[in-house]
Symmetry: D2
Subunit: 367 residues, 4 copies
C-alpha cells in the first residue's frame, strides 16, 4: 500500500526532504466544503520548523498551495492536491550519510528495501518532513469534523524524557482542548512545562535528543463507529498513528495500566442521563469491542528521542560493509514531541473522518 | 472493511458465539503448501476453552474442518475455507443480556452500530470465540513462515494483574521460543508463574477477573519489509493485534520506556559481523522507519481484565432506557491472557506472511 | 484480490465443483434486512442445473444454507456466510482431464498459475458452479434494491448462435422486467425463442455447444452514482460481469454500435418533465462520464459457447508435454446463456448495492 | 475509490481541465528503474492536442514535470509524482455551460453527484485532458514492461464512423506493433485511413463528431496472470479501459462475434512446439478462465463520437429547471479515437504491470 491510505477518504502522499516539493492528494472529500485556509495555515505553523530553539533551525514556511479540487473557495469533490515547496534544504550536509547508516534512522532498512536507489538526502521520503502534507490533510479533516459533527481534538504533552506531568485533564471539553491547541508547548502544569523544555535544551547542548508521550482527546464522537474485528477503531487509529515517524507505542484509555485493574474496576458502568447512555468512568477510552461508545476517545502515543543527534555514533558503511562512525551535521531537532503533537491530532482527524464517511456516506454534508 | 483483512493474503471471518458455525476464508494462500494438521490442531488447543480451571468451563474441541482450497493434502491456491462447529453453547444463559448492556463489553456500541439487530447471544460476532478461526489462519501462516522462511514466533506472559515478571528472555532463538510454545502458561520465572495463576484463581473466587501483558518475539525476519508511512510494520501489526478483543495497548521494542532514554542510548548502533549488518541493541524492536532491520521483532500487548464477571454491576436497560444492574451467569474466563497469547502469535504470523507475499509475490514458494 | 470483491459491500467466495461445499461470505450487509428466502431460492433455481434438456444433467438442488449473520429472520450486520452442498458430483468423469488440458477451459492457465496444485476435478474453483454462491449474494442484494430503492433488474436473451432477436424491449418497466424474470427462457419473440432452443438442442446432438448475448436492464437508479475515472459505473459493472466465466464482451447503451453514429445523434438530449431531468434517447445506457444519469442502465454481455464439448478435440498432455486429444465425458451444458442470465442480474445487483452503500452509507436502511 | 486505482501499483490522478495543473502520483513503482524521458514525451505527444486539423486547436505541450520519487535518473521506489501545467485554457468559452448541461457529457450527472460544486469549466476533473497524466503513468509502465518482460503493446484504428478496416494484423509481433506506434493515424490499410480521416474532417465541417473502434494487441505476456473470479484479466483490463472517457464497449478475442461460433470452433486447440504450449487459434484473445494463456492479448474498445459538438442541441438549464438549448463554442475534437488510442495502450500497460507486480513481487527488477 506504500504511501496511500484510507478506506473511503483516501490520501496519497509524496515527496522527499530535499526534493523540490512535498505534497498530498486527498480523494473523496465531500464537495461544497468551504475551507478556512487561515485555520489550516495556523495548524501548519504548529508543526513548522525553525520557530524556536526547541526545534531545528531549518526554516520552512510550510504554507501549502492547492492545485486541484478547489473552486470558488470550496471543495469540488474531485481530488484535492496540495503541495509545499522545500525552501531551505542543505543537501550537502547529508553527503556523508549516503553510505554511513544513521543509527535509529530508516537509512539501513530503506537501503535494503529500495536496494540502494532511495533518495538518502535528509532521509528522503522517510523524512519527518513528509508529515507536513499529512498535517495539511489532517487540518482539512479537522475543520470538517468541527463544523459538521462538533468533534474536537486536542492533545497535551504528558512527558518529556524523565519529566512527567501527573496532572489529569479534568474537564475534557471544547474549551480545554482549544486552550491546549493555542499553546506552543501544551502542558497542563506550568512548572512541568518548564522542566520539560529544560530537558530538551539540555539534550541539545549535549548534542543529544529526548522523546516523550503525547496524550490526545477526541470529544463528541457518537457511539457506533468502527468494526468488531479488523477495522476496530483502535486498529484504525493505531495504524495511522504508527505511520508518523518515531512513534513506538500507543495505548487507549487506561492502556497498559488497565492490566493492573480488576474487571470490576476496569469495566465502565453505564447510566442514563437525559435519555442518553453515558459511562461513569472511561477506562476503555471511548472504544469498546472496537466500536465507539460515545465517551471521549483518549489515547497516548510514545515518541522516541529524535534519532538524528550530533554525537559521534558507531555504525556501518554499507558500501564497504565495514564498521564506521558518524557525526550528523544537519540541523536536528533535539526533541520532536511538540512538533509531532499536531500531526497526531491531524492523523486522528483523518481517521475519524474516514470512519464517519464510511458509515454515513457522501450525502449528509454541506447543508 | 468489517471482518475482512489483508493486502495480499486476505481473510474473511464469520460466525457468532452461539450460532452453528464459526469460520474463516483464507484467500491467496500460495498453492502446493502441505499442511501439518496436527500442528494446527495443537495451536488450536492452546486457545481452546475448558482445559483447566483458569478458563471458562465451556467445552469446545475447536477442531477445524476444511471445506475448500485443499486437495491431496496440499493447498491449491484457491480460497481455503475452514469451519469450527459450536458444540457447547448455552444460549439461555444470555437471555437477560438482550436488553441489559454488559459494562466493558461490546453490547452497547454494537446495539447502536447494528441498530438492535445484532445477535446478542454470547456477544455474537463480537465474541472472543471468533478468534478461533483467526488462530486457525494464523497457525497455517505460522507453519508456512517456519518452513519457507525459518521465521519463528513465541510469546511469554510478562504480567498478570499486579504480578510482573521482570526477567528478560536473554537468548531469543528457535529453541527458547519453542520452549515457551510448549508451556501451558508460558512465564519465564516459575515463582512468578505460580503467583500469576494464584491471582487468576483469586479473581475467579471473587467473581472478578484480571488482565495482563504478553510479550511476543519474532525471529529471522529479514531487513526490508514494510513501508515508510501508512503501511509501516508497526502500523500493520498494531492494526491486526487491536483486532483481538480486549487489547488496549501495544508497544514495540522499548516502547513507552524509550521515552525515558536519550537518543544516544535509544539508537541501536550497527556493526558488521560475517558480512551481515547487525545492531548492538534492539530498543527499536526490529523496526525502524516502518521497515524491518533484521533484528528480532519484539512487541508487548496489553490485555484488559475479562469484562464478563459474575459480580453485580450497574448498567442500563437499553429497551427501557433506564438504569439497571446485571449479574452475568455465563461460564466466564477469570483471565484470558493465556488464551489470547496464541492468538497474538497467529495474528502476527498472518501479518508477516501478508507483508512477505506482497514483497516477494506468489512464485518463490512450494519448492 | 483473488476471490474477494467489493468496495463497501464485500464478497468472499470459495469452493470447488467437486469439493464438499461451495459458499460465500457477504460482508457489510446492512443490519435488520428481512430476507425472503423463498425469493432467493427461486432465483437459485433459475440457474440450477438439471432442470431441462437444455442444460447439464448434473442434478443439484442448489439451496443455500445460512451459517452466520442472520438472526430472528433478519440480517444482523455481521458477515453472512451461506454454503451450498455439492450433491451430485461424479469426479471419476474427470480423471482424464488431470493431464489433458481442455481447450477453451481454464485448465492450462490454471495449471501454470497454481503450478499444478489446483483441484482439476470439474474445473475446481474455476467451475461455473461457483456462480451459485455469487447468485445467492446477488439475490440478497436484489431484494434489498427492490425493497429500499425500487430498483429492478431484468434480462432477455438477445441471441443464441446465429439466431438473433431484433425486437426491442419497448417499455422498460417493473412489469416487463418481472415478466422476463418469470420465463424459463426469456426471449421477447416466441418464434425466435423456439429457434434458439432448437439451435441449442442441435448443438447438443452434435456433441457441440453454442453461446449468445444477454441484454440487461436496470431501472430506477437515480442520477449521481459512480466516479469520473477508475470507478466509473461501467468500470465497476464490467469488472464484475467479466468475473462470470465465459463472458468475452460487454457494451453499454448502443455500445459498439454508437461508433456508427454522429455525435449529434449519439448525444442524448435532456428535457424537463415534472421537475425531473430526463433524456429523449438512451444511447449512453444510463451512464455518462462514468456516472448514472437517471435513465435505465442497459448493457449487453457476450457469452461464449460452453467450452466443454464431447467432440474429440486436439490438445496437449501437460505432464508429458506432448500433443494429445481429448473427449470430455462429463455432463455438459450445450449452452449456458440461459443459466448465466440470472447470474448476470445478480452480479449487477451486487455492483449497484455496493455503489449505493458507498454513497449513502449504512444508516438509511431498515426503516 | 474515486480517482485512485490499482492493487499493487497504485495511481492517484488529480486536476481539472482549466485548473493550473493536472497530475498523477504513481505508488509502488519498483526502485532503480531508469526512465527514458524521451520515450515518455514521445508517448505524450501522440495524445497531445493541437497537432493537426483532426483534433482540437487547444495547444498544450503536455510535457510532464517529475516532482518526487526520481533521483539520479532512476526511480527511488518512493511515490513518483508528475504534473503537467495547463497552458492554453480559455475558461470564458465555458461560462454558458455552467447551467446548461451538455448532452452526452458528464455535466448533468456530475452536477447531481457533486451537488453543484464541481468545477464545470471544460468538464473539470471529468475532462479527457485528465488522461494526459494517465498516459504518463502508462508510458512509464510500458517501458518497464518492454525492458524487463519484453512485453509490447500496439493498437490500430479498426473503424471510424462508417469506415471499417476489415484487414487483420497477420503478424502480431514487436515490429508490426512498433510500426503502428510510429504512425500518427495507425490504420492497416492506407485507403481506409484516408477515408477515416475524411469522415472526421467531414464531421468537423458539419459541426458534428464521429467515433470509432480501436484494436489493441499485447504480446509476450506469459501464462498464469490473473484470477479465476473477481480479478480476471478481463475484469482488470475492462475496469481500467472504461475509466477512459467516451468508452462504451470492450470485447476480448473474437468478443461478441464468438457468440456466432460453435464450441468446437471457438475453443483454441493447444499444441506443443519447442517444449512450449501454444494455441492454433486465438479466439479467446489470450485469456481463458480469467488467466492469461500465453497467446497475445487482443481486445477492441468502442469510443463514442466526441460529445462536444458545435451544433445547436436541446438540453436543460439546471438552475431554472427548464428546457434550453446549447451551442458549444470550445475548441472541440471532431474525433478522439486517434488521441484515445495511446491512452488505451498506456492504460493496458498499467494494468499488466499491476498484475505482474502482484504475482512477482518487488524483487525481480532492476537487475
Amino acid at each position: 500500500m506504500s504511501s496511500i491510505w484510507g478506506n473511503k477518504l483516501k490520501l496519497s502522499i509524496f515527496g522527499e526532504s530535499h526534493g523540490e516539493t512535498i505534497g498530498v492528494v486527498i480523494d473523496n472529500l465531500p464537495p461544497g466544503i468551504k475551507l478556512d485556509l487561515e485555520y489550516i495555515n495556523k495548524q501548519m505553523l504548529r508543526r513548522a520548523p525553525g520557530k524556536n530553539k526547541l526545534s531545528t533551525t531549518r526554516n520552512e514556511s510550510d504554507l501549502p498551495k492547492i492545485l486541484s479540487g478547489y473552486f470558488n473557495g470550496k471543495t469540488t469533490g474531485a481530488p484535492l492536491c496540495a503541495v509545499i515547496f522545500n525552501e531551505d534544504s542543505h543537501s550537502n550536509d547529508y553527503n556523508i550519510l549516503k553510505d554511513n547508516m544513521r543509527p535509529g534512522h530508516s537509512d539501513y532498512p530503506a537501503y535494503v528495501k529500495y536496494q540502494g536507489f532511495n533518495d538518502y538526502r535528509g532521509g528522503g521520503h522517510f523524512s519527518g518532513r513528509i508529515t507536513a502534507p499529512l498535517l495539511f490533510a489532517g487540518a482539512v479533516s479537522m475543520q470538517i469534523l468541527q463544523k459538521y459533527k462538533n468533534i474536537h481534538i486536542g492533545s497535551r504533552i504528558k512527558s518529556v524524557y524523565d519529566v512527567e506531568d501527573d496532572a489529569q485533564l479534568v474537564n475534557v471539553n471544547e474549551n480545554s482542548l482549544n486552550s491546549l491547541k493555542n499553546m506552543d508547548f501544551p502542558v497542563l502544569t506550568l512548572e512541568k512545562s518548564e522542566k520539560m523544555q529544560s530537558a530538551i535544551l539540555n539534550a541539545k547542548e549535549n548534542l543529544d535528543s529526548v522523546g516523550g508521550i503525547v496524550e490526545t482527546f477526541i470529544i463528541n464522537v457518537e457511539a457506533g463507529y468502527g468494526e468488531p474485528f479488523f477495522d476496530s477503531v483502535e486498529s484504525r487509529l493505531s495504524h495511522m498513528i504508527f505511520s508518523i515517524p518515531a512513534v513506538k507505542g500507543i495505548e487507549f484509555g487506561e492502556g497498559f495500566n488497565i492490566c493492573n485493574m480488576k474487571g470490576s474496576t476496569a469495566n465502565d458502568p453505564y447510566y442514563v442521563e437525559n435519555e442518553k447512555v453515558l459511562a461513569k468512568s472511561n477506562n476503555n477510552g471511548g472504544i469498546i469491542g472496537g466500536i465507539t461508545n460515545g465517551m471521549p476517545i483518549i489515547f497516548r502515543t510514545a515518541i522516541k528521542p529524535t534519532p538524528s543527534i550530533s554525537k559521534l555514533q558507531n555504525t556501518v558503511n554499507i558500501l564497504n560493509m565495514e564498521n564506521s562512525s558518524i557525526q550528523i551535521k544537519g540541523r536536528n531537532d533535539p526533541c520532536i514531541v511538540q512538533r509531532a503533537l499536531p500531526v497526531i491530532e491531524g492523523a486522528a482527524a483523518l481517521t475519524l473522518l474516514d470512519l464517519i464517511l464510511e458509515r454515513e456516506g457522501e450525502l449528509l454534508w454541506n447543508n
